[in-house]
């Protein structure tokens, strides 16, 4: 357990808590406020006419939710799913989406002051989805911007986005 989590847990410090996960060699964090649950990978039913990073839909206890492969969303190479592959179920603006990640590690407390804005260089597509760099004991956790992860640059989702903004 890191030092950070030993702090007194205040109700309203939920925003400083991040679920961290790995993709490739990198660590990412997602604000715990979005996360509803973490499940192992289930059988995914492919849905035609969707972007490649939308792997399809899964049956989450009777609820059918889409799953997005974060690797593909970040433009990385696909990787076969194994027993460590997890689906992080997030809920953003009433959209429930499963995010496929390589492995989930832990929930960390990353105070606002230790998060820096993401350095601006656009060589990597995944940069678009990172809202900041959190430093936890010399390690860097990239903080995912869930809104852009779900909605940015997705032609097929444009219409949905538009209608949800109306």
């Amino acid at each position: 357990m890191s030092k950070a989590t030993e702090h007194v847990e205040d109700e309203d410090t939920l925003k400083n808590k991040y679920l961290t996960f790995h993709i490739g060699d990198e660590d990412y964090g997602i604000s715990i406020g979005y996360v509803t649950e973490i499940i192992g990978i289930l059988k995914v039913t492919e849905v035609p006419q969707t972007p490649d990073y939308i792997k399809g839909v899964i049956n989450l206890r009777g609820k059918v939710i889409p799953v997005m492969d974060i690797r593909l969303r970040f433009g990385m190479a696909a990787r076969d799913y194994d027993e460590r592959t997890c689906v992080i179920v997030v809920n953003h603006k009433e959209n429930v989406v499963g995010l496929v990640v390589d492995t989930v590690s832990e929930v960390l407390d990353i105070p606002e002051e230790s998060i820096e804005g993401s350095p601006q260089f656009s060589s990597n597509l995944s940069n678009d989805f990172v809202s900041g760099m959190g430093k936890v004991e010399e390690q860097i956790k990239m903080i995912i911007d869930v809104n852009s992860l779900l909605f940015r640059d997705s032609e097929i989702l444009e219409s949905v986005k538009a209608s949800s903004e109306n």
């Binding site: 849905v47 006419q49 839909v57 059918v64």
Partner: protein, 863 residues
């Protein structure tokens, strides 16, 4: 009490409840009006029912400080009361006025919903004036003296008049109970005040005195029950004076009335104090009591003189002080003495009787109920058992405790059936008995409060009470969740019981347990599905009012018959058919039914009839709207349709059904003139759209000159689909069975390929284009050879096509789920369903499947 956000929930509840109440009132009014039309006697229970609904609404509104609603309700109530008391001859006009009042209330409710208050929403002075005028008209001829009948002359409905002489600690009172008490108290005092005023104007009558007395008495009882001793005492004084006046011992004069009014004001102050969280203490109650006592006829009021003839009388007057009263029936004098003494010592007021008969007399004559009955079983004359059954049937909120040395089990069982609260064995332990009594009193009180609040409409006839459906409101999304989970449970069940690891094992015990589980999950599923189903009666009853209004407006007497209101349909379907029904019934009334003159001419009864019926047939619900009017005029429809360009000029090939269906086209109307009811040609178009949305269809049976019958076919539920499960590669699809004509494995000889690559299959005499689902959806199939897979012939609007899939798995009946909104709508897919093993299959939408063809592969005309 003023509004803040915390109250919004209460307010919401009030609006919903009041809407329900209005919905219930409407049909009752129609019933009354019909009775009046036919000259038959109006059922007094119906009037009482309406009265209670208004009264309840007024009470709740008063609670929430919705004074505008209260005022409208109050006037309506007053008018109704005059009607039901026979003070006014029942006239149709009254009920039309009251219906209008209902509309005003309904509008106010809308306002409350949007603004949280009923003020400044609309001008209610008009309706109030009409109501007041009507009341004045009724009152005028009947009252000998001056005008200005006060609207507050409403006697309290009888169910409130049973005094509640309970008492309990202040701490036990929840704010709701206090609010209720205050509200009721204010009502009682207001009414009494109104009567007092009318007495002061010289309109004194036995009745108003009675009413004042009853009101004070009830209020006193309530105070006693709530342990507000000061108010109780004060009211007691008032009561005594009124009694004196009644008996002629006290001359009624201005002075007395003023004093009493002042006292009432004081009491009201006390009530307001309670609302603010105070203890209901009065400012100078003692001085008032002194004044009042000086006015009293005798030093002691004899409010309970009726029971004075009973064996134990010396403590009767104590009842007034709000003690917990116990009616004790015991034939053995020693026991009687002993127990009475114990009880008196411990603060109970005890009325002891020797026989059950005398106890019943006491009960009958007591102006207030006793809190608990303690009775021996073995009694001379009427047995304890008979006594108890008599008591529980007449005074059902009165808890009964038996005291007996007898330990006969059968007897106990019988007593349990009679809802006896508790049993004490002789010889009885003092503490045990006291505890039991205390519990029983609390229990009885709770029961009483319940019966007072939940069913303020509690009718005296038990048969009606048993018909009242108990229900709760549940968020639809919670229900959907429940259904989802039940579905999951069933899947999980089959995952466990058919687990591959179990294969080949002899597991007798397990099989039995699994079977039992299966039965339970099946039943659970049935119930979960049934939960969404609600009877159509709600929507149907609304139509009564509609027909009534329309019939007045167009001056055609029309009667609406309802049949099969109990038919249950999916909630969504019920909501969806409400609008279409309004349009269709309006149409039937406005266009279908002829004018009374025309009807008489063709030998039909003057009154037109519309039948609205519902019935379930297989997996469909039929809603039938039938009128006995002139029927659809084919020529007129054709003419209009041509004029509107709906059909070509020379279209002669239309069948009758097709012609009739034209009335559902947008912009169609045969009405020569647009009335404010119908004729714009929008109605039926909406009807068709709504019905189609719930996957229904409308059939018309036209019988020119005799009437027209519309039959709406609606699937029982929108939630399920029957389909064929097919496989392409690893992906599974459900194809709606209604679209499938046949399926086959083609022989090589049947296949023809056009130079552009489009494949055709010759089935019998027709060439059908073949579409490969794997191409359409970019999948990897098990094989690419048409002769190795299965062709499914789909019936589409544009003609049949063949869909190539790997194989057919089996038929499924399944719950439709929507694809996530996040993905938007996917072409060719209408949703998805969950299979027995937990996998998700996509439901194909046959009509749109070709739209997802890559553009260079666009369907080439198959001709």
């Amino acid at each position: 009490m003023s509004w803040d956000d915390d109250n919004s929930e209460l307010l919401e509840g009030f609006v919903v409840e009041s809407r329900d109440a209005l919905d219930m009132i409407d049909p009752l009014f129609i019933e009354v009006i019909e009775c009046l039309d036919e000259g038959t006697e109006v059922n007094s229970e119906t009037l009482n029912g309406i009265f209670r609904l208004f009264h309840t609404m007024k009470g709740s509104a008063g609670f929430l400080n919705l004074n505008v609603i209260v005022s409208v309700n109050h006037e309506a109530e007053t008018l109704l009361d005059l009607c039901r008391n026979g003070k006014a001859e029942l006239k149709k006009g009254f009920f039309e006025t009251l219906l209008a009042a209902c509309d005003v209330i309904s509008n106010l409710l809308c306002g409350i919903e949007s603004q949280g208050t009923d003020k400044n929403i609309l001008d209610t002075s008009g309706i109030l004036k009409i109501l007041k005028d009507t009341i004045a008209q009724i009152n005028d001829p009947s009252s000998t003296s001056t005008t200005t009948p006060t609207p507050t002359t409403t006697p309290t409905p009888t169910e409130e008049l049973t005094g509640d002489e309970f008492s309990l600690d202040f701490d036990m009172l929840s704010p709701e109970i206090i609010e209720k008490f205050v509200q009721e108290g204010l009502d009682l005092l207001d009414e009494a005040e109104g009567e007092l005023l009318s007495i002061s104007r010289g309109e004194s009558s036995e009745e108003s005195l009675e009413l004042i007395f009853r009101n004070f008495h009830t209020f006193k009882g309530n105070c006693g029950f709530m342990s507000f001793s000061e108010m109780q005492e004060l009211t007691h004084c008032l009561e005594s004076i009124i009694e004196g006046v009644k008996d002629g011992d006290v001359p009624i004069n201005e002075n007395i009335i003023n004093t009493m009014l002042n006292t009432a004001d004081q009491l009201k102050m006390g009530l307001f104090d309670l609302l603010k969280g105070g203890k209901g203490e009065l400012e100078d109650s003692q001085s008032l009591i002194d004044v009042l006592t000086s006015l009293k006829p005798r030093s002691q009021a004899k409010a309970f003189d009726v029971v004075e003839s009973e064996p134990v009388t010396k403590t009767e007057k104590k009842l007034a002080a709000g003690d917990k009263s116990v009616l004790y029936v015991e034939d053995d004098p020693t026991s009687r003495m002993l127990v009475t003494k114990i009880l008196e010592k411990n603060g109970f007021h005890c009325i002891a009787c020797e026989t059950a008969e005398s106890a019943l007399d006491v009960l009958k004559n007591l102006s207030a109920d006793v809190d608990v009955i303690l009775t021996d079983i073995n009694l001379p004359g009427m047995s304890g058992k008979e006594f108890i059954s008599e008591v529980t049937s007449k005074y059902n909120s009165m808890p009964v405790i038996t005291l007996s040395g007898d330990k006969d089990r059968d007897l106990l069982k019988d007593l349990m059936k009679l809802e006896v609260y508790g049993f004490a064995d002789k010889p009885v332990q003092k503490d045990e008995l006291l505890q039991l009594l205390q519990n029983a009193i609390t229990h009885g009180m709770r029961k009483k409060i319940q019966s007072n609040t939940s069913t303020s409409a509690a009718p005296s006839t038990t048969s009606k009470a048993s018909k009242v459906k108990r229900d709760i409101r549940v968020d639809l999304s919670k229900l959907d969740m429940l259904i989802d989970l039940v579905g999951e449970l069933i899947i999980a069940e089959s995952m466990v019981t058919k687990h591959p690891d179990l294969e080949g094992l002899e597991l007798n015990g397990f099989e039995r347990a699994a079977h039992r589980l299966h039965l339970i999950t099946n039943e659970l599923q049935d119930i979960a599905m049934a939960v969404r189903m609600i009877p159509v009666s709600g929507v149907f009853k609304k139509m009564l009012r509609l027909v009534h209004d329309v019939s007045l407006k167009i001056a055609k007497p029309i009667k609406l018959h309802l049949e099969g209101e109990d038919t249950e349909v999916d909630k969504v379907v019920v909501d969806m058919i409400a609008d279409p029904l309004v349009h269709m019934i309006r149409n039937s009334a406005d266009h279908g039914i002829e004018t009374p003159e025309e009807r008489l001419e063709v030998g039909k009864p003057e009154q037109g009839t519309i039948l609205l019926a519902a019935e379930q047939r297989a997996s469909e619900v039929l809603i039938i709207i039938q009128d006995d009017g002139r029927g659809l005029n084919k020529e007129k429809i054709l003419e209009k349709s041509r004029a509107n360009g709906l059909i070509g000029d020379n279209d002669e090939s239309l069948t009758d059904q097709e012609i009739c269906q034209l009335i559902f086209e947008p912009g169609f109307s045969t009405a020569a003139e647009v009335t404010d009811l119908s004729g714009r040609g929008v109605g039926m178009d909406v009807v068709k759209k709504n019905i189609e949305q719930v996957k229904g269809r409308i059939e018309i049976q036209n019988n020119p000159g005799k009437g027209c019958k519309f039959i709406i076919h609606i699937p029982l539920t929108l939630a399920t689909i029957e389909g064929m499960l097919v496989k392409v590669g690893t992906t599974k699809y459900t194809i709606p069975i209604t679209s499938i004509r046949e399926s086959l494995r083609p022989a090589q000889s049947m296949i023809t390929v056009r130079p552009d690559g489009q494949e055709f299959v010759k089935i019998r005499e027709s060439m059908l284009p073949v579409f490969r689902l794997h191409t359409l959806h970019d999948l990897v199939p098990d094989n690419y050879d048409l002769t190795q897979g299965i062709l499914i012939v789909l019936d589409l609007l544009d003609g049949p096509i063949c869909l190539f899939v790997d194989s057919i798995l089996h038929q499924v009946q399944t719950v439709i789920k929507s694809l996530s909104g996040y993905m938007g709508s996917v072409k060719g897919i209408s949703g998805c369903n969950i299979l027995g093993n937990g996998e998700v299959a996509l439901i194909l939408d046959p009509e749109s499947i070709l739209k997802c063809l890559p553009s260079d592969l666009k369907l080439v005309e198959a001709g």
